[in-house]
Subunit: 377 residues, 4 copies
Amino acid sequence: MKPIRLGMVGGGNDAFIGGVHRIASRIDGRFELVAGALSSTAEKSKASGAALGLDEDRCYGDFTEMAKREARLKNGVEAVAIVTPNHVHYPAAREFLKRGIHVICDKPLTSTLADAKKLVAAAEKSDAQFILTHNYTGYPMVRQARAMVAEGLIGKMRVVQVEYPQDWLTDPMEGEGLKQAEWRTDPARSGAGGCVGDIGTHAYNLAGFVTGLKLESLAADLTSFVEGRRLDDNVHVMLRYQGGAKGMLWSSQVAPGNENALKLRVYGEKGGLEWSQEDPNYLWFTPHGEPKRLLTRNGAGAHEANQSTSRVPPGHPEGYLEGFANIYNEAADVIVAARDGAAPDHLLPTVHDGLDGVVFIDACVRSSARNAAWVKI
Amino acid sequence: MKPIRLGMVGGGNDAFIGGVHRIASRIDGRFELVAGALSSTAEKSKASGAALGLDEDRCYGDFTEMAKREARLKNGVEAVAIVTPNHVHYPAAREFLKRGIHVICDKPLTSTLADAKKLVAAAEKSDAQFILTHNYTGYPMVRQARAMVAEGLIGKMRVVQVEYPQDWLTDPMEGEGLKQAEWRTDPARSGAGGCVGDIGTHAYNLAGFVTGLKLESLAADLTSFVEGRRLDDNVHVMLRYQGGAKGMLWSSQVAPGNENALKLRVYGEKGGLEWSQEDPNYLWFTPHGEPKRLLTRNGAGAHEANQSTSRVPPGHPEGYLEGFANIYNEAADVIVAARDGAAPDHLLPTVHDGLDGVVFIDACVRSSARNAAWVKI
Amino acid sequence: MKPIRLGMVGGGNDAFIGGVHRIASRIDGRFELVAGALSSTAEKSKASGAALGLDEDRCYGDFTEMAKREARLKNGVEAVAIVTPNHVHYPAAREFLKRGIHVICDKPLTSTLADAKKLVAAAEKSDAQFILTHNYTGYPMVRQARAMVAEGLIGKMRVVQVEYPQDWLTDPMEGEGLKQAEWRTDPARSGAGGCVGDIGTHAYNLAGFVTGLKLESLAADLTSFVEGRRLDDNVHVMLRYQGGAKGMLWSSQVAPGNENALKLRVYGEKGGLEWSQEDPNYLWFTPHGEPKRLLTRNGAGAHEANQSTSRVPPGHPEGYLEGFANIYNEAADVIVAARDGAAPDHLLPTVHDGLDGVVFIDACVRSSARNAAWVKI
Amino acid sequence: MKPIRLGMVGGGNDAFIGGVHRIASRIDGRFELVAGALSSTAEKSKASGAALGLDEDRCYGDFTEMAKREARLKNGVEAVAIVTPNHVHYPAAREFLKRGIHVICDKPLTSTLADAKKLVAAAEKSDAQFILTHNYTGYPMVRQARAMVAEGLIGKMRVVQVEYPQDWLTDPMEGEGLKQAEWRTDPARSGAGGCVGDIGTHAYNLAGFVTGLKLESLAADLTSFVEGRRLDDNVHVMLRYQGGAKGMLWSSQVAPGNENALKLRVYGEKGGLEWSQEDPNYLWFTPHGEPKRLLTRNGAGAHEANQSTSRVPPGHPEGYLEGFANIYNEAADVIVAARDGAAPDHLLPTVHDGLDGVVFIDACVRSSARNAAWVKI
C-alpha cells in the first residue's frame, strides 16, 4: 500500500508540535511528507523543508498558494497537517477543505468561537475529512477506560476529576524570547483563553471522551498569576454534566514540579478509574468493594480497544508519540476508506469535538469575567 | 513523671475514633485513662469501661455527672477526650471547661455555628486548655511542609489543591445498620454538613495549617449522590485566599478506590510541595527549575519540625496513630506547663481553628444552597 | 485486665531499639514497664529509669541482680524485654528463663552459634515463654501474604527474592562516635556477621515466615566495602530451598538512597506476591494471567489474618511501631494464657526461629570464607 | 538527505522483533525499507513483503541470495537488519559483512561462542559497520545514568543489582503453539542459554553500559522450573567485577506479575542510581546523605546525553520504541559518516559487546553445570 501523501502547514525549524506530527505520521509508515508551508516566508519554508528532504518547489511560503498548487498536481498532497498557532487553523483549513484535501489539525480548533463555527461549516460542506489531534484520546489505556465506561463497568457516572498542571510558565518566559511561550500568551494568536485553551481543552476533551458525558454548565475562575501576563495561567472550573454527574477541572502552567501531569479520575455507582498521562501504560480500576487492579497496556485482560492500539507487548512502554501515532493511523484508515467513498466508524476527534472545545474555552472566559457565575453550555 | 489522668466522653464499644484516641494517648506514655462516660447509659458505659480496665465507680452514664464528680475527686481527671458525635461536643466540653478540666476534642468543633461560638466563649473564659484533634497536622512531613512554606522556600503562594476522597459511602450504608454511617448522615447529630463536615474540614484545615493562608471567600457545590441521603456526600469548592492565592477542595465519600486519600499540593512562585496522607512518610519538594526531591520522615535533610515529631529512624514508617499521638504528646506538654501556669507556644489546633472549620462548613452549605455563589468568610 | 508487669534489659538513653520496644509494649495497653537493667552501671540505669518513671529501687545495674530480686518480689516482673547488643542476649535470657520469667528478646538470637544452642536448651527447660522480636512478621500485610501462600493462592513456590538494603554505613560511621554503628561493626558484640546478622536475618526470616519454606543450602558472598570495617556491610546470597524453590537475598548497609528497604517478592506456579516494608499497608498480588491487584491493610477483601492485626480502617496507614506492637500484643496473649497453664497456637517467632537465624548467619560466614561455596543447612 | 536503504532478514508475519525494528527505523525518517528475506521461503517472504509495500523482486527466500543480488544492484541496500532467531545471526551477518553491507543485528550476538568469535572476525575484516541492538542502552535516562557515573557523581562503584523478570513462560507456552516461546526454548535455535540468553544478556549488558565495569568472574544457578522445558527459565547470578565491585543478576520468565521489569540499581561511595525500564522516563539519584532526586527525561537539570536522545519535552513520555529508535538514529549517523570514510565516536553496542554477552551466557551455563562454581571471564 502506497503511503498517503501528506503536506504540512507550520512546523518550521523552531516549532515544537510540527515535529511531533511528523514522527507520529511516520511511526506506522502510512504517510509520506511531500510538501509544506512550514513557515510564513518562502525562504524560511524552503530552509525547513530542505532539512526534511522536501523538494524545493513543494516548499511554500503561503498556505493558500500551497493549497491551490497541490490541488492541481497529479501527485499533490492528499492530506495536510495544520500545526500553526491557533489563529491560523481556520484560514488554513478552509483553503484545503474547499479543495477536497483532508485536514489533520492541531487543537484547539480555532482562536475564536466565530472561526470555530465557520470551520464547522467548511468541514461539513467539504467532501474531505477533518480530524482534530486531541492526541491523548489515542492512548491505549484511554481507549480501555472509554470502553469500560461504555460497557457499564463503572455504573452511572457521579464524579469526574480531571487536571492538567504544568510548570513551564511559572516565570514570565514570554518575556525571555521563548517562542512557544510568546504566542501562547498572546490573545491575538491564542484567542481569549491561555492555559484554558492550550491544555484545559485537552483535559475537558479527555473527560468527555472517556465518560461520554455532555457538559450542562460550568463555573470558571481563571487567573493570571505572573505579572504582566495577558492570558490566564491557572484554571479552576466546576463542572455540571447532563444527567447529574459533577466534576472539577484544574489546569495550570504555574505549578512547579508538574511537567505534563494530565490526570483523569472518574467515579460511578459501581467503580472507579484513574489514569495519568505521565505513566500512560497503566489504568487503575476499582470495582466498588474489591481491591484495586492495575490494568496495563496490552496486558492481562486487556480490552480489544487497548490491544488494537498497542504495537508492542506489555511492559515495553509506549508513550506520547505512539498515542499521537494512533490518531494518524486511524486518520489513515479514514482517508483510505474515503478513496472508495466509504466513511467508517471511528473514535477520532472531529470538527464537532473541536467546536465543543472552543465553546468550553469561551464559556470559561465568560464565566470568569462574571465572577465565576454558572454559564450554560 | 506521673502520667496525666485522662477521662473520655464517648468511645464505647462500637465506636471508631475513641479507640484511636486511646492508642494515641498511650503511645508516648504520658496519659493514663482513669474515667469515662463512654456511652449514654451507665450500664453500657460500665461495660465498655470494664473492658478497658477502668474502675467501675469512675464509669459514668452522663458527662455532666462525670465532670461534677471528677472535679471534686482528689485524683480526678486532669483532661478529658471528647470523642462523641459532633452535636455532643459543645455541651460536653462546656461542663469540663467550666470546672478547669482540659479538653481534647474531636473535630469538627460542633454541629452548629451557634454552638461553635458558644464553645469559643467557654474556652476563652476557662483556665483550662482546649485542643482540637485535627490529627493530620501532627504528621512529621506536614510539619516539615509547614516549616518550608514559613521559611519562604515555596515563595509567595499561588495555588492550593487539596482533596480528601473516600469510598465507604458509595452505597447507602446508613440504611444497613452501620452506626458510623448513621450518625454521619444525620443532620441532627452531624450538623448541616455531611462529607464537608466529616472530612472536608480536615482538608480545609490542613491547607491552612501548611500554607498559613486565610480564606477570603468560597464557592461550593455540595451533592448527595446516594438516593435518600440527607447530607452531602461529595463536595466541590473553589477557594480564594487573602493575598490572591486560589485553590480547589474536593472531598467525597462516593469515590470507589479511595480509602482516606487526603492529599495536599501547594505551589508558589519558587516551588511546589505535594503530600499524601496514605503515604505519609514522604514529601515531594520541587524547587522551581530543579529536579523533584523526595523528602522523608526523619531522613536526610529533615527539618527540626520533622525530626522532633518522629520517633524512629527513616525508612521505618510511622503512620496515622503516631501522627495522632503527636497531638496528644504536645497536648501533654501544654497541660504539664499549665500546672505551673505557663502557656507555651505550640502548633496544636485550638478552639479558634475549630470555629474556623465550622465557619467553613457553614459557608459551604450556604454557598451551595445559593447555586454555588461566592460567600465571603 | 491488669497490664503485664514488664522489665527491660538494655534500652538506656542513647539506645535505639529499647525505645521502640517500650512504645510497642504500650500501644495496646497490655504491658506496664516497672523495672529495668537499662545500662551496665547502676548509676546510668537509675538515670535512664528515672526518665521513664521507674522506681529507683527497681533500676538495676546488672541483669542477674535484677532477675534474682524481681523473681522474689511479690509484684516482680512477669516478663522481660532484652534489647541489648547481641552478645548479651544469651546470658541475660538465661537468668530470667531459669526463674520462670518470660523473655521477649531482640534479634538475632545470639552472637554465636554455641550461645544459640545453649539458649534453645535454656528455653526448652524453662516454663517461661521465649519470644523473638522478628517484628516484620507482625505487619498485617505480611500476615496476609503468609495466609495466601498457605491457602495455595500462589501455588507451588518457585522463586523467592528478598532484600534489605540500607545506606547508613556508607561512610565509616563507627569511627565517628556513633554508638549504633560501633557495636554493630564489632565482632565481639555482634558476632561473626555484620550486615548479615543485623538485617540479613530479618530478610531471611521474613522469606521463611511468608513462604513456609525451609532452606536446604546457600552460597554467600559477604563483603566489607568500607575500609577498615571489621564485619561485612554487603551480603549476596543464593538460596536453595527444600522442595526445589530458589532464591536470592541481598542486604546492604552501603546502598545510598535506601533507608530500610526490606522487600519480599515470591513467585509460584499460580501467582506472585510483592511487599515492601517502607510502604507496608500494601501487598501486590498477581494471579497468573490476570491484572495485578493492590491489597490494602484492612481493606477490601482483607484476609482475617490481616484484619485481626489491624487497628484502624484502611487508608489510615499503620507502620513499624504497630507491626512491632502486634508482636507484643500476641506475646501478651501467650503470657496471659500461660498464667492458666495454657499454650495457645500463635505465629510469634520462637527460640527455634532464633536458632534458625543464627544458623543462617553462621552458614553465610562459612560459605563466604570458602569463596561462596554451597553450605548445607 | 536521502534515507538509508535498509533490508531485513527475518521479521515476517508472526514475528515480534522485526516489527519493532521497522518502527524504530522509521521514527526519525532516516531509513527506508526496500528489500527483505523476511521468511525462510520465497513465497512467505513475498507475502510478508507485499504487506510492507516492498517490491516483489526484492523479497527473497534466502539471505545469501539477497546479499548477493543487493550487493550488485545500483540502489541495493546499504544496511541490513537481522531479526531472526539467534542461530541465524552469524551466517546471515557474514554474507552481508563480506559484501560491505552494514549490519544491524538483534541480540544475543549468536547462539554459540564459536559463532560469536567467527562473527567478530568477520566484522573486523569488513569495511562495513556492525551494530548490535541492545536497545535498552538507547533510553535517555540510561544515557543520563551512564554520564553521571562517568563524571564521578556516584563515586567508586561498590554494588550493582540488576534484574529482568518476566512472567510469560510461567506455563509451558512452548507446547501450546506460541512461536515466540518455541524457538526461545529450543537449544538448537537459542543456544545453550534460555532466559539467560534472551533477557539475562540485556540485564548484563545494561549494567556494564551504565557502570563501565568489566566482569571478573561469576557464579550462576540456572533453573528450568517448568516441567519438560529444555532451557533455563530462571537465572540467579552473583557477579564480581574487576576493581572490587560486586553484583547480583536475576532474570526470570516465570515470575507472575512481571511484564518486562528490567531494573538497574548501582551504588558507589558517593551515591546511588535506580532505573526501571517499565517507567523509563525517570531516574532516581541519591547523592549520599541528601534527599533522593527524581530526574526526568529532558527535564530540569538533564544531562546533554539525556537531552540529545529525547524528542519531546519532559512529561510527554517516550518509551521502548523511541529508545530503540535512538539506536537506529545513531546507526544512521555512523552509516552516513562511513560514506565519507569517517568513523565517529558513538555509544552503540558493537560486535565486541556482542561477544561479551555470549561469553557471559557461556560462563553462566558452565558455572551452573558445575553447581554454581565461580567461573573467570
